[in-house]
């Protein structure tokens, strides 16, 4: 699958920014997310560019000239050393886990293909990431870091979390977005308030 298709053809959640669905504090939080994308402060330049390449596979956005930024927010989280409030007993603290994990993926790519990850064709990048996900890795690069655990609970979880925090992602899945103070009135099956996304029926159209 390469072509992305959304049934919410014309819906843009940001159109509601100046309606009663948004309050001031939410407007400000989303403005910061859109306008104040942080600069690199934690990752090395190499780790940053590797993570950019990984994000392009985990959450590809080929149709966008300006992809939703993901790496800057992960760097920001690491810079602030902001954990989720727990650490699995077999995992090092988050900063170590990310440094170790990214460096191990870089080493896997060089070991397998004699190239850096960023230079690999997408199909080989995907194959490598799938192996990491399933722990099919060279233990000398990973040492005490569980590859699959890092892939799912750190890397993929954060990439996906950052992407679906962005209004562009809310729009493409037809999510109502911020909803205070107005909320919603119509709650039943196939019921939609006028300020909610209208779904386009491709199947009916094809027929």
């Amino acid at each position: 699958m390469s072509e992305f298709r959304t049934p919410y053809l014309t819906y843009d959640v940001l159109d509601k920014r100046d309606t009663p669905s948004w309050n001031d504090q939410t407007r400000e939080a989303v403005r910061q997310r859109l306008e104040e994308v942080p600069k690199r402060r934690f990752l090395t330049a190499d780790q940053w560019s590797l993570l950019e390449a990984i994000c392009a596979r985990l959450m590809p956005q080929p149709e966008r000239e300006e992809p939703v930024p993901i790496v800057p927010w992960i760097d920001d989280m690491l810079h602030r050393n902001e954990g989720p409030g727990y650490r699995y007993a077999d995992m090092p603290p988050i900063r170590e886990a990310w440094r170790q994990g990214l460096d191990a993926i870089a080493a896997e790519a060089r070991n397998r293909h004699g190239k850096c990850f960023e230079e690999l064709p997408p199909i080989e990048q995907d194959a490598l990431l799938t192996d990491v996900q399933h722990n099919r890795v060279e233990s000398r690069y990973w040492r005490d870091l569980p590859a699959g655990g890092f892939f799912l609970h750190q890397l993929l979880k954060q990439v996906v979390g950052v992407y679906y925090s962005h209004p562009a992602a809310w729009s493409e899945i037809g999510f109502g977005g911020p909803a205070s103070p107005r909320g919603y009135a119509r709650l039943g099956f196939d019921e939609r308030d006028p300020w909610e996304a209208k779904e386009y029926d491709f199947e009916a159209d094809d027929a």
Partner: protein, 545 residues
């Protein structure tokens, strides 16, 4: 990001949660003034008890590690920005089935986890309080349903629970204070499926307003309940018991992390050492109540060890931190032809407790309820990624079907097991305090219960017309760790939450639970807190404090 750097409840006033930028007067106590009760934690246990004790005329200071929120101004309609609501200090989680902590079950801030809870307000099955003698498994609680019933009622009145006229399970003699909310499409999926296979269902009793109350208007169904309510419809402890406590003369100290309970030579607690405003301070108290929930409560008792109590406080029998329980939470999900749009309204609006009350055909002990679900995009996408290993364009495309998903998830009973526990590690946190290490593994019985529940949820979803079903795993809630009992050898505190060995040390939160039951714990925690408050008042009147 939601952040509050400086304490707000200072200088004789506290935030008025109902009015933007306004304050309410607050009585304050000097560190050297020996208050009647110093309470650690302001959630379902501590906040509720602070109110009850202050209204009974005791002098009370309640300590809260997190901020004093102003919901109308602070809370953003956003999953990512509300991360400040959760306890995110370092904790290690291990065992065969490590518990996800943080946003999953641990609140931080005045009101505790009730600020982010989903407002489900269920009473226990009466027999669960005597599970061992009546049902043949688990343990008996030192108190009965009959003893707790008046306090369930008090809690429901205090929170103006919205509920159906006839809730089919547990026991209730009066109507719920407020009418039930209309059920959203996600809940109607559960209803339709239950009716198709012939089991009862019900709209959930919820602690969110269905009619105005004071300065709060009814729930607007914005759906961000797990990320804090920005309209005050949610009847969290922050907007119910805390304002009452302040009015009755209690002091709440926000951004005040308690590091240690201090002990006197006579074997009684003398007060607390706490960190606030950049320095360690000491509060004198006649009584100390620990209400930090099932991880921080045992942690504080263990971290308060001293030469007199080398194993930690109230821990002569080594039970502090043990028998920690969660609710297991496998879920089943599917696709509906109709638009469901589960982001609207409280995430859980319908329930079946059929398998909490009907024990026929079970190959395990215990019970489970399941509720309709309303994940928001980040949570949903992460669940797809982690549980199904889905990523790339496959995930992006799958996410465009978000408005058609429907899911059910159980609140499943787990057994109290000694090796599931909270300990303290060598590693230290930002205050220099040893951090907690949590160990959890399901029992054989827990696993059988989860398997059984998947079959039940599958049948209900299929009955509702859902397709492409898949199963995921999750957990919720924390219980146990300082269980109450009638035998000093076999419990940490007595039936009133009072330590067996230190007569002026009390526990009042979910860590009291000897067993977990198959419903959300908050209403039972609040009922226990109200009962403990009444017991303390009665003991004081008889000179037994």
């Amino acid at each position: 990001m939601l952040e509050v750097a400086e304490p707000r409840a200072v200088g004789g006033r506290a935030p008025d949660v109902f009015r933007e930028g306004k304050w309410v007067p607050m009585r304050t106590y000097d560190d050297n003034e020996e208050v009647d009760f110093a309470i650690v934690g302001t959630g379902a246990g501590g906040g509720t008890l602070a109110c009850k004790l202050a209204e009974a005329g005791f002098s009370v200071v309640a300590f809260e590690a997190g901020p004093f929120w102003r919901p109308l101004e602070d809370f953003v309609s956003d999953e990512r920005d509300q991360g400040g609501l959760y306890w995110t200090d370092d904790r290690i989680t291990g065992g065969a089935d490590p518990i996800e902590l943080g946003s999953n079950n641990s609140g931080r801030g005045v009101g505790g986890s009730t600020v982010h809870y989903t407002m489900i307000a269920l009473r226990w099955r009466p027999e669960w309080f005597k599970a061992k003698s009546r049902l043949g498994y688990g343990r008996d609680w030192p108190i009965s349903f009959d003893e707790l019933e008046p306090y369930y009622e008090q809690a429901e009145e205090a929170l103006k629970i919205s509920g159906p006229i006839d809730y089919p399970w547990s026991r209730r003699r009066k109507r719920y204070p407020y009418r039930a909310h209309p059920v959203n499409a996600a809940g109607l999926v559960l209803a339709r499926g239950c009716e198709a296979i012939g089991v009862k269902w019900s709209p959930l009793p919820l602690a969110t307003l269905s009619a105005p109350r004071g300065m709060a208007h009814p729930c607007v169904y914005r759906g961000f309940c797990a990320y804090g309510c920005s309209t005050n419809a949610k009847q969290s402890v922050l907007v119910t018991f805390i304002p009452r406590a302040l009015k009755a003369g209690a002091e709440v100290r926000d951004l005040a992390m308690v590091g240690r309970i201090e002990m006197g030579k006579d074997g009684k607690a003398t007060g607390l050492t706490y960190h606030r405003g950049g320095q360690w301070r000491h509060q004198k108290a006649k009584h100390v109540v620990v209400a930090g929930y099932a991880i921080e409560t045992p942690r504080l008792l263990l971290n308060s060890k001293c030469s007199q109590f080398p194993q930690g406080l109230a821990n002569e029998n080594g039970l502090v931190g043990t028998h920690l329980m969660i609710h297991s939470g496998p879920g089943v999900w599917g696709m509906m032809d109709e638009e469901v749009r589960c982001y609207k309204a409280p995430p859980c609006m319908a329930v079946t407790e059929h398998w909490n009350y009907d024990d026929s055909g079970k190959d395990f002990h215990g019970g489970y309820a399941f509720m309709s679900q309303g994940p928001l995009p980040v949570g949903w996408a992460q669940a797809q990624a982690i549980n199904r290993g889905m990523w790339g364009m496959t995930l992006r495309q799958e996410m465009t079907r978000y408005n058609h998903i429907a899911g059910l998830r159980i609140v499943g009973e787990t057994e109290p097991q000694r090796h599931n526990r909270v300990e303290v590690a060598d590693e230290r946190d930002q205050y220099g305090l040893p951090i907690p290490r949590v160990t959890f593994s399901y029992s054989e019985n827990d696993r059988k219960l989860m398997e059984h529940s998947k079959g039940s949820m599958r049948a209900v979803l299929e009955g509702a017309g859902a397709k492409e079903l898949w199963v995921d795993d999750d957990t919720s809630h924390l219980m146990g760790g300082c269980r109450m009992g009638d035998d000093p050898e076999d419990s940490v505190v007595n039936r009133d939450g009072r330590s067996w060995s230190i007569p002026n040390l009390w526990v009042c939160d979910g860590s009291l639970f000897p067993t977990s039951g198959g419903v959300n714990p908050s209403l039972t925690i609040q009922a226990l807190a109200l009962r403990i408050g009444d017991r303390i008042k009665a003991m004081a009147a008889k000179g037994e404090l």
